[in-house]
Structures are given as structure tokens and as C-alpha cells.
Amino acid sequence: MMRSASTLRRCALTLLAALLALAAGSSPRPAAAAGKTTLVLGVDISDARTFDPARQFEYSSPITMKAVYETLVTVSPGDYGTVKPLLAESWKLVDGGKAWEFKLRKGVKFASGNPLTAEDVKFSFERLAHVKDQPADLTENMGAIEVVDPQTVKIAMADKNQPLLTIFTSVSYAVVDAKAVMAQGGTSAKDAEKADKATAWLDTHSAGTGPYVLTGWTRNQEVVLERNKSYWRAPAAFEKVVLRHIGDGAAQVLAVRRGDIDAALNLSPDQLESLAKDANLKIVSAPSLDYMYMTLTSSADLNATLAKKPARQAVAAAIDYDGTIKGLMGGHAIRPATFIPIGLGGSTEALTKEIGYKQDLAKAKKLLAEAGVPNGFSFKLSYGKASIAGTSYDLVSQKIQSDLARVGIKAELDPMDQATLRTAYKEGKAQAVLTFWGPDAMEPYLWAQPSIGRVAKRVHWTPSKDIVDLVNRAGGEPDPKKAAALYREYERMLIDQANYLMLIQPVYRVATSKAITGYQLTAAGWQVDLYDVKPAK
């Protein structure tokens, strides 16, 4: 019996030793070392569905799309109103303002070696429209495309009073190598929805002019990019870029500390604080164009009190906006006056101070009396089980609940899963919703229009003709300054209406290794332009 027990102990010890040896034996090469030829990002890529430009419409994938494809025009971080050249050298309005004509840059080649021509532009944009997947909705205002000569392409607008040029900055308008895509079964014909077969190939390869090429994607594991050897500008700084899937923020913290990854993209405010003092790391930040907002219904069937404007205005006057940003976001957020985020269409922090909501409990009480409910009322606040920039809707809704309680308004919290919430919201069945808005393209009209269109429907508000006209005039106004003045008028009307309360426009932050430089965040949709990222000297 003694022998039996000691054999057992020996076995157990051997097994333990073997496990430890195995784990220790394969200590990986830290990304920080090795002459820095590989850039590794630690990022949650579980949302990735495809890397076909005509189908991709996710959150994390545009990082890759921006690195492997290029658009005719683009915008720089922080300056989203100024359209800059990329594949197009110059452009002008032609045909009495009904079309844009682009002159393509000379000498640009795709990674395959094929030269970039106007035919590629026509093919790419028509394929985007005809594949009819999610991003096709961005082609609403795109009319006929005409190849004027190999270096010139003319794109008509369906409605010259609606924006188009700014929408071309979206990664959905990537210019693909028509020959390469057609060779993989791609087509831009009208029946592309069924006939196009190139997606499977485009998921693991790229056909663009960008500084990198896509060489592999394993779902929920990693995306691998390699340097494009025939790039038209100076070659990219890294031979290889790996977007490593690390879904958990805490695991990203460990990995970036250890140097296994050069940047950790999905960290909560607490996790970022814990890294702030690490001498090998740097926190980079930039305001996003995303925001968390609350809707209040105008439907008397859903909530008879909320349907009255003064009651909604009372809610707006009772919320402690600054306290929410300071307390829940650690101050790393801003707040737009209403539906247009700060950074676009003349929306600034100063404007929010001037015309936006602010907490004023006396005013809230007066408004409640005006609405006929001096002692307050109650409504149901629905939100999803999710978080924005590491702060959960749970926390924000609790903060709102306690703010409103101070004037006697009772918010009944109604948490649900995101799918159920989106259904209830989009079908207009909720009294009040706490949710999120992210950009489609760098065009303020894409915010203003829904606020008086589909989103207005969800809150059962019928906008006046005045406000609709105002938004349409602003959308068709080519001078950004004049457009901003029109948007300001619209914003005043929207604020008075009090169906939308903007709460948090987060400042996104990423922890990067000091072994790299040039990691500049952008709110334009692609998060970072990997071409700018270089090894530190």
C-alpha cells in the first residue's frame, strides 16, 4: 500500500513537470524584439465576416480594408470635413453640377502588377452597387459611371442636391483590380447579387493598390498582411502585419505588457489606467464620431406623458451630463449638442455649451408642472447588454435613473439582449432606448437625414416641413461653412423637440508599444491607417 501511494505521487509529479516543461519550452518570440519587421495588433476580430469590399460592413475589418485597398479620395485624422486626394489627383463638378469627374493618379499599380485605370473604378463601384449586400446602401446617390479615358472617370449623381463626394472616402468605395477579381469569378453586372463568385477568394486575398496585401484570415484567430512590393508610394514599414484575435481586454493587457503585441485595441478605462505608468507603453487617443444616446418617444400610445414635449424637455434638463462623462468615462469623452457628432458639420464642444442640454433641476421641475405632472412620472428605459469604450449601458442607465429620481421622474430599467433591443427599437415599440450610433461615411447629412427620417419614425415624431427643408438644403450645400450654418438652425429645432438626448461621444484610446510610432487613431471608420505606423528608431 505504501508503494501504491508513492507510485501515485511520482506519477502526479511527473505529469505536472511535463506540463510545465511543455508550457515553458515554447516561450514565444516577443513582438518587440526581432529587428521589428512584424507589427502585431491585439484586437477583437470576432465580428469579421468578410474582406470583400462590396460586402464588408463590420467594425474591426476596416483596419484591414484601409491597409490593402485605397479610395479615390480620403480624409485625415481629426479633419473629417476636408476631402483629400488619394488615387484621384484632382476632381471637379461637371455637367452643371450633376456629376463628379476624377483624374486618376498616374503610375499607380495594383499588387498584381496591373496598372490602375478608370475601368477599375467603374468595375469596383458598379460591383458595390450590384452585389446588393449591406454597403450597397451607400450607393443610393450614385448614378451612371462613364470612362472618359483611361485616366479619367465621370460619376453622375442621382440627385445633385444630395452628397456623394464625401461618401467616396468610405472603405466600401475601395478600388479593386478588375482583372484580378474577374479572374476569381467576380462581376459588376446587374445580376452580380447571384452571379458574383469572388467573395470566397477576396476573404483571404486582396486585389487593391494599398501598402499591404491580405495573405490570410482564420476566423477568430488572425488576419495576416504582407508588404505590397509594388506600392506607388514609399514601401510600407513592416514586412508583415498580424491582427491577432484577443477577445478579452484583460488578456490584451497581459500581451501588450509582455511585448507579444504592439497595440491593444479593446481596453476598458480601468485597464488603460493600469497601463498608463508602464514605461514601455504609450496611450494614444482621439475623439470618435460614435456616440451613445437616449431616445424618448412621442407616441401617446406608448407613454402618454413622454408624448408631451415639456415632459421630454424635463428629462433632458434633469440629466447630469458632465457627471456621466467624468464619473463613468473618466473624462475620456465629449458630447455633441444633438444628432451630428463633434467633428462634423460644424458641431463642436463650444456649440454644445451654447445650445445643448445642461442639467437644471429647477427648470426640469417647472417643465414637469407645464406637462401637468408636477410630481413626476415614469417611463421604461430599454437598453442592451453591451458596452461602449468599456463602459456598459447598465452603468449609464443607472446613472440616468438616479439623476431623474431627483425631480421625481422614475426610469424603469429594462435591460435586454442586443438583438431583441434592436428589433424593438427599429420597429418603434420602445418608450425610451439607450443605444449607439456609428459613422457610415464622413458626411454630416448621413446623421441629419435619419434624425428626421427613419429614426424620427422610431420615436413617432413627424418632423415639420421647415426642418426637412433645412436638412435637405444643408445636404446639397457644397460650401461646408454655409452647410454648418444651416445645420445649426436644424440642431436648435431638434433640441427643442427633445426626442434625442446625446450622452457620450467617447474618446477612443489604444495602448501601444514604444517600439512603434505613428499610430494615429482616426474616427473615419478604419480606426488607424497602418501605413503611418513605423518601427521606432
Partner: protein
């Protein structure tokens, strides 16, 4: 008893797996969420034409009984349909995520048996001795520590702190997978003679499998101990001892085989549970397995994926139960004679 019994069981199992899909289908459709509205972007979901097109693509515009009929007809052809969230055949998704899970569950299951069973025997044989106390303490920790906590502590200690464990994920950053045969990287690495990949994959398996095994080891140890204590108190054990059989022989030949039946049942269930995937462990170790896929599919109300996973998990449970029942035949001859 024998072959006919096994065949009957196989047929009954398949029927039960399909029945399980019907239950899940009905339950999933009571959720007030619309998968198309949940999946589409804000602008797209306001476009009736886009919504109708997406509904038609997954047959969501048809009555419920027709939708289930289509599922069954496809199933008969070995097709599980297309996932709404990933936009590719559910079978392709499953083919990608299942090998990662099988690999992890099998290593965890192996650790459970080789540690749990001997520990349980030792605890019973030396009841109230130090080994019993140590085993009880370890089991308590393993069973009661929340998995996500344990997973994170283990990762922080061995990966972040001591720096002896590899990064989360199945392979080192940028290390390509071995040529695809089974999708299990250790096996594929060995088959291809790619020892570096096999070793790399095995190293990445250590931490998550230890975390998963922690809970199951506790259960198996306690069950083994209880079963051993019971058999050690039986008359035939006393008789054996009276005959002068050495204690080692008593434990090995008389007590242990008779204690095996409950242990086997439990080990089977534990393995099935591991195979069904473990969301928290998979999340922290960035393990692209079935648990996470199931979780994401449920959140997205991705009907085809939910149905596919249900069918698969039901089949795995039934197959393991069947294997356990067949194993009874081997360890307990009385079952065969019945």
C-alpha cells in the same frame, strides 16, 4: 444484447437528436428578436427592400412549419443551411470550430482521468490521511472557483507574470497552422511530421485544458473516492483481505473494478460537457471553439447556426452515453447477461 442493442440505440439516438432540434426551433422562435433587423446596419434595416431580400434569403418570410420542413429536407441532404451571422454554410463554421474544441476537451478529459481517478482511489484508501485532505482541498477549489476567475489567474500568473506560458490562442502569433487534415493542430502537426507546429499547439493547450480540468477533476475525484469507500466496505473485500490478499491486490482487483460504473458514467458526462464548449475559458484564452460560436449564434438569433449546434451537441451527448453504456458491458459482465 450486443450488436442488436447497439444498433437500436444508434437509431433511437439519431431520432432523439432531431427531436431536440424541434424543441430548440420552437423555443428560439419565441424570442421577440428579428435576426435580420439585428444583423443589418441602421440604414439598411430601414430599407424595406433590403429587409425583404435578407428575409427571403434565409426563408424567414415563410410560415414556421415550412421553415422547419426546409431544415429537415436540407438535413436529409447533409446540409445545415447558411449562418445569418457569418454568411457561410453552418457546416463550414462547425468544421472550423469543432476540432479546436475536441482537441481542448480531449486533453482536459485526459487530465481529468489520469489525475482524478488515482487521486480518488488514494483518498479512499488512505481515508482521513493527508492525501485525503489535500485531495478534498483541491477538489473544493477546482469545483467552486469561478472558471473565468481561475482562467484569468492562471493566465496572469503563467503568461503575464512568470512568462513561461505561451500567448492566448491556438498557436504563436504568425505561426501558420499545419496542413489541414483533422483541424486538430497537434494531430495534424504529427501527421505532417511538423513537430514544431505540434509542439506549439500542445503548449497552447496546457493552460486552458488545466483550467477546464480543474472542475472536472474535483467531481471525478470525489465520485471515485465515494465509490471506492463503498466497495472497500463490502463483504467480498473483507473476504479477500481475510484470505490474505495483499492490500494492493485488494484495491486493484477487488475494489476498483466494482467502483468503476459510477465513475464511468460521470466521466462520460463530464467529457460531453467539455465538448459542448466552454464560453468563458474560450473567451479568455481566445480559443476559437464551439462554446463561443454557440454563444454568438444565440445572441445574434442566428437560427441556422443554433439548429446546427443543437443537433451536433445532442449527437455528441447521445454518442457518449452510448459509448458509456457499451463500456458497462465490459466492466460489468452482469449488464451483458441481463
Amino acid at each position: 444484447m450486443g450488436l442488436r442493442y447497439v444498433l437500436l440505440r444508434v437509431v433511437a439516438s439519431a431520432a432523439m437528436a432531431v427531436a431536440a432540434t424541434l424543441v430548440v426551433f420552437l423555443v428560439a422562435h419565441t424570442v421577440p428578436a428579428d435576426p435580420v433587423l439585428a444583423q443589418l446596419g441602421d440604414k439598411q434595416s430601414a430599407n424595406p427592400e433590403t429587409v425583404a431580400r435578407f428575409r427571403a434569403r434565409w426563408g424567414l418570410d415563410r410560415p414556421l412549419h415550412e421553415q422547419y420542413g426546409i431544415f429537415l429536407a436540407r438535413l436529409a441532404r447533409g446540409d445545415l443551411g447558411e449562418s445569418i451571422a457569418s454568411r457561410r454554410p453552418v457546416l463550414d463554421d462547425i468544421r472550423q470550430y469543432v476540432p479546436a474544441t475536441i482537441e481542448l476537451a480531449t486533453v482536459a478529459g485526459f487530465l481529468t482521468i489520469v489525475i482524478g481517478v488515482p487521486l480518488g482511489i488514494a483518498a479512499a484508501v488512505r481515508r482521513d490521511g493527508w492525501i485525503d485532505h489535500v485531495a478534498r482541498f483541491l477538489c473544493l477549489i477546482g469545483v467552486s472557483a469561478p472558471t473565468f476567475w481561475l482562467a484569468f489567474i492562471v493566465l496572469a500568473l503563467f503568461y503575464g507574470g512568470l512568462e513561461i506560458a505561451p500567448s492566448p490562442g491556438r498557436l504563436d502569433v504568425g505561426a501558420g497552422a499545419p496542413p489541414h487534415v483533422t483541424g486538430m493542430f497537434v494531430v495534424d502537426g504529427i501527421l505532417a511530421g511538423d513537430w514544431a507546429s505540434a509542439r506549439n499547439a500542445l503548449a497552447h493547450l496546457v493552460l486552458p485544458s488545466v483550467v477546464l480540468a480543474a472542475a472536472t477533476i474535483g467531481i471525478v475525484t470525489r465520485t471515485t473516492r465515494a465509490a471506492m469507500l463503498e466497495t472497500l466496505g463490502q463483504d467480498y473485500v473483507r473476504t479477500a483481505r481475510a484470505k490474505g490478499v495483499a492490500e494492493r491486490g485488494v484495491v486493484r482487483r477487488h475494489a476498483f473494478p466494482n467502483a468503476l460504473v459510477p465513475v464511468l458514467t460521470l466521466a462520460g458526462l463530464a467529457y460531453a460537457e467539455l465538448l459542448a464548449g466552454t464560453v468563458l475559458t474560450e473567451t479568455i484564452f481566445s480559443w476559437p471553439g464551439l462554446g463561443r460560436y454557440t454563444y454568438q449564434s444565440a445572441l445574434a438569433v442566428d437560427f441556422p447556426a443554433i439548429m446546427g449546434v443543437t443537433l451536433l451537441v445532442a449527437l455528441m451527448y447521445l454518442a457518449i452515453n452510448l459509448a458509456v453504456d457499451v463500456a458497462y458491458l465490459v466492466v460489468d459482465p452482469r449488464v451483458a447477461r441481463r
